[in-house]
């Protein structure tokens, strides 16, 4: 029996506290505290080891000169890759989530949801292998077509890469990894739409699409937004797929289809960990701290949107 628990009717009748109880409750509490400690440890140790990386000798940062000009293009690359991934992934996720929750025959909806979950189970390194060896060459015609017809848009300014290992390919691979996450959450939110709202819309003569627009989307908006942000968190932190698809140069460019692409923070760490002199290692850890901060903010915002949405619904 927990010592501080407020008196709940069935339990308050048992005031005896045995040593076994005390040990067990203590262990459980210690486990909870361990989690707090571990998370604090992530911050503390990254800060301790990364701090020297903020002011390492200039040659470590080559070709940049100080930490912020070193990490700048990386942050840009991270955000660009994540944005490309989201632009591709979000429409598909919403489509698939609607398919599972409202369009597919009920008997096949469950297996289909399982198949989409399988996409999440495939290890990221296998996606990277597939992206580098199969998808990249396959995007060649697409890249050439984009360059021929749409090169006035800065994203497709070219010249087109011959290998296909471009930011666009990395974005597609990331999108495939994001789809299961956003789909799973959106699907749950769509399925929670009150049945009465849907039936009321249908009874008023709405078609299925009008019912979805009038009853499902307004209800699910905050849930879908938070799903997108959790997907963004995943896309920001994904390492291997990007490291295996992109051959990176430290540039800042919106060009998605050329040979020179900015690396992301995570892929930069993965491809440079080997030449880890202590100085370089500190710099890499410092960039990792930046990545942690960015994903933390994104995830925090997503949770906030979820909790606000839940409050709105209960009202």
């Amino acid at each position: 029996m927990s010592v501080t628990a407020p008196p709940q009717p069935p339990r308050a009748a048992k005031p005896v506290v045995r040593p076994g109880d005390r040990i067990f409750a203590g262990t459980a509490r210690v486990a909870a505290l361990t989690i707090m400690l571990a998370l604090a440890g992530v911050f503390v140790f990254l800060a301790l080891e990364g701090y020297p990386g903020l002011s390492a000798p200039e040659r470590i940062y080559a070709p940049a000169t100080d930490f912020w000009s070193y990490v700048g293009p990386l942050v840009f690359g991270t955000i660009l890759a994540a944005c490309v991934a989201l632009v591709i992934a979000v429409p598909f996720s919403i489509g698939v989530a609607l398919f599972i929750s409202h369009y597919a025959p009920p008997r096949v909806a469950v297996p289909i949801a399982y198949v989409i979950d399988l996409l999440a189970a495939v290890p990221s390194v296998v996606y990277g292998l597939w992206g580098g060896l199969a998808l990249a060459p396959a995007t060649r015609p697409l890249i050439d077509w984009l360059y021929d017809n749409l090169s006035f848009i800065p994203f497709f300014a070219g010249p087109p890469s011959v290998t296909g290992r471009t930011m666009l390919t990395a974005g597609i691979v990331l999108a495939i990894m994001v789809v299961p996450i956003t789909t799973a959450i959106s699907r749950e939110v769509f399925a929670q739409t009150p049945r009465l709202h849907e039936e009321a819309a249908m009874a008023l003569g709405a078609t299925r699409w009008e019912m979805i627009r009038l009853a499902v989307f307004p209800y699910a908006r905050s849930g879908v937004i938070s799903a997108v942000m959790l997907g963004l968190g995943r896309a920001l932190g994904e390492t291997m797929a990007v490291a295996m698809v992109l051959s990176a140069t430290p540039v800042v460019t919106l060009n998605l289809i050329s040979n020179s692409n900015p690396a992301t923070i995570a892929s930069n760490i993965a491809s440079n960990y080997k030449e880890a002199t202590p100085d370089k290692q500190a710099v890499l850890i410092a960039t990792g701290l930046v990545l942690f901060a960015v994903t933390f903010v994104v995830n925090f915002a997503a949770r906030w949107v979820i909790s606000r949405g839940e409050r709105n619904l209960t009202r």
Partner: protein, 365 residues
Amino acid sequence: MSTSTPLEPDTFAITADLAQPRLPAWAVLLDVVLAAGVAGLLTLLLGWSPYAGLVLAIVLAALGMPLWSLLVEGRRAAADRLATSVVWASFGVVLVPLVWLIWLVVKNGIGVINSEFLSYDMRNVIGEGGGIYHALWGTILITLAAAIISIPIGLFTAIYLVEYGRGSRLARVTTFLVDVMTGIPSIVAGLFALSLFVLIFGPAIRIGFGGAVALSLLMIPTVVRSSEEMLRLVPSDLREASYALGIPKWRTIVKVVLPTALGGIITGIVLAVSRVIGETAPLLVVAGATDTVNFNLFNGRMTTLPVYIFQQYSQPGIVGPAGGDPPGYARAWGAALVLIAIVMVLNLVARIIGTYFAPKTERRR
């Protein structure tokens, strides 16, 4: 209305007026067949690639139905048909990469796997040959160590959240932190383990146990989440019956609550293992890579299957005199097939355990 008899014919007239012509059910089938036929014909006549033909067929089918519907049924029905085709098409498109990837891995991997591939390491291998023996052992040992660290912590945290900490400040904070932990990028977990061990042992340290620590950081939130959910499903009648018999709370948890939720908890743990077993980045950073078998978690570098795939991909070796792909690519595909097989088997086992034990706890569904 009290005088309803004269109204009835009128109602029929009104509905007949409002009702619009509907396309029959077979119209969809006809649309798909027509689109496929037109696209196939164009592809054959103009000599396009089959992929372009497939894309054209999908686009034609997706646009043809709404257009037809617009002519016959009106604007609103056409919008509905358009939405339906878009939703179906997006589902079909999402399946493409999954099928493509699994087909490629199986096709390229199946020829590589033989007894030599499974029982040799990469020591002194320059051209072809070699295998994944060392990576298999690395994966098993590191994942096992990660599970040994994270299962007790995760399970006890879940017990705290459900049984002891109801509404307390520590419970709220812990729930929030678990949410935060779910979002930690895997490479940050690796860097954390690296900086922890670097601080203790000096900057050149690379040990398998560090990888286990990093993986457990990724595994704990999944274990906590799933176990917490399962513990909450245990009916409180069971607990109260046990209390009424004078059983202490901790024995109630051990003998009544945990066994009832056991199936769900094991499912969650297996899923968590299958999630971390494919992690590459943290192990690359903290466990390093090696070509030989290493059974000691606490001394020296250790390779796991995902890291092995990355290694073979980034340093594939020299193309032999016969040409073709460098030998590393074949080994990477083979290892990818083994890894995917492991992950799928774990997922399947989790599902089976889940459905086998489910009726005890979730009778309502």
